[in-house]
Amino acid sequence: MSDWPWVIASYALTWIVLGVYALQIHRRLARARAEYETEKNRSTESLEVEA
């Protein structure tokens, strides 16, 4: 059997694993940023109401 299918499978797996993982981290960071902005605005609003 040729070596190439094994080589291609290795590189494909590397790209799939790291690509999916990087995307997951990217989404987590985007969600964290959005939540932080929302929470910051809420806190500012509640402080303004109290004042």
């Binding site: 059997m1 070596d3 190439w4 094994w6 080589v7 499978a9 290795s10 590189y11 797996l13 590397t14 694993v17 790291l18 993982y21 990087a22 981290i25 990217h26 987590r28 960071l29 969600r31 964290a32 940023r33 939540e35 932080y36 929470e39 910051k40 809420r42 806190s43 509640s46 402080l47 109290e50």
Partner: protein
């Protein structure tokens, strides 16, 4: 779009470009190896993934010690981010080794000391991540994680030395000092790029963890303020 978003996207684009370039360089410049033929090209992903994982666990080790000494939450969060990236890279290393092992040794898996010690390393740090999800109290979680992180890292030198201590099926460690000339630069470049990928992923994960902590702190602050206004 904020400037930090833009910088993150730009850094991500640069990392992907480096990753593609390094792999193309490795594959294009290495001739078929005398014993293994083109299977040798798997070395450019398998070995750098292992090195990057070891380095990630090295970060866990250093940050865990720093946490126990200084008790700063940032050290704990950085250790946790590095552990997660290390687990993904170790899992990838094991899977790539399995793909390389099948045509070379005729088996997907064997209980060779290098493979077994790497699997143990993987399980220890999966346990580290599981522990973090089970313990709710942040300081207790950080203390226990630091202990597991330090003890877990002690397996890294065992994995590294396993091919010297127990000469079995796995070949001796590949490094620029041990591979033939045509493969040296491919290995060096891919190793550097994998380490850049590891650092990029840890940084992004750490940023997300810091923001999540800030959100929790703001929520607590608001809850306390609301309680105070009702009293």
């Amino acid at each position: 779009m904020t400037p930090s978003n833009d910088a993150g996207r730009l850094a991500g684009g640069v990392v992907v470009a480096l990753f593609v370039a390094a792999q193309l360089f490795g594959v294009a410049t290495s001739p078929a190896e005398a014993g293994m033929g083109h299977l040798q090209k798997i070395m450019y992903v398998h070995v750098p993934a292992a090195w990057a994982a070891f380095l990630a666990f090295g970060i866990v080790f250093i940050m865990s010690i720093l946490y126990l000494v200084r008790r700063r939450e940032s050290h704990d969060l950085l250790a946790a981010s590095a552990a997660q990236v290390g687990v993904v890279l170790t899992g990838l290393t094991l899977a790539l080794g399995s793909i390389w092992g099948r045509p070379t040794w005729g088996v997907w898996w064997t209980w060779d000391p290098r493979l077994t010690s790497t699997a143990v390393l993987f399980v220890i740090f999966v346990g580290y991540l599981a522990l973090r999800s089970f313990v709710d109290e942040p300081q207790q979680r950080a203390r226990w994680s630091a202990a597991v992180g330090i003890l877990g890292f002690l397996n890294v030198p065992i994995v590294y030395m396993s091919v010297r201590w127990w000469r079995t099926l796995h070949q001796p460690s590949s490094s620029p000092a041990t591979v033939d000339d045509p493969y040296v630069w491919g290995l060096r470049i891919n190793a550097v790029v994998f380490i850049i990928v590891m650092a990029y992923l840890i940084r992004r994960l750490y940023q997300a963890s810091i923001l999540q902590r800030k959100v929790e702190a703001l929520e607590e602050e608001r809850a306390l303020a609301t309680e105070g206004s009702h009293v």
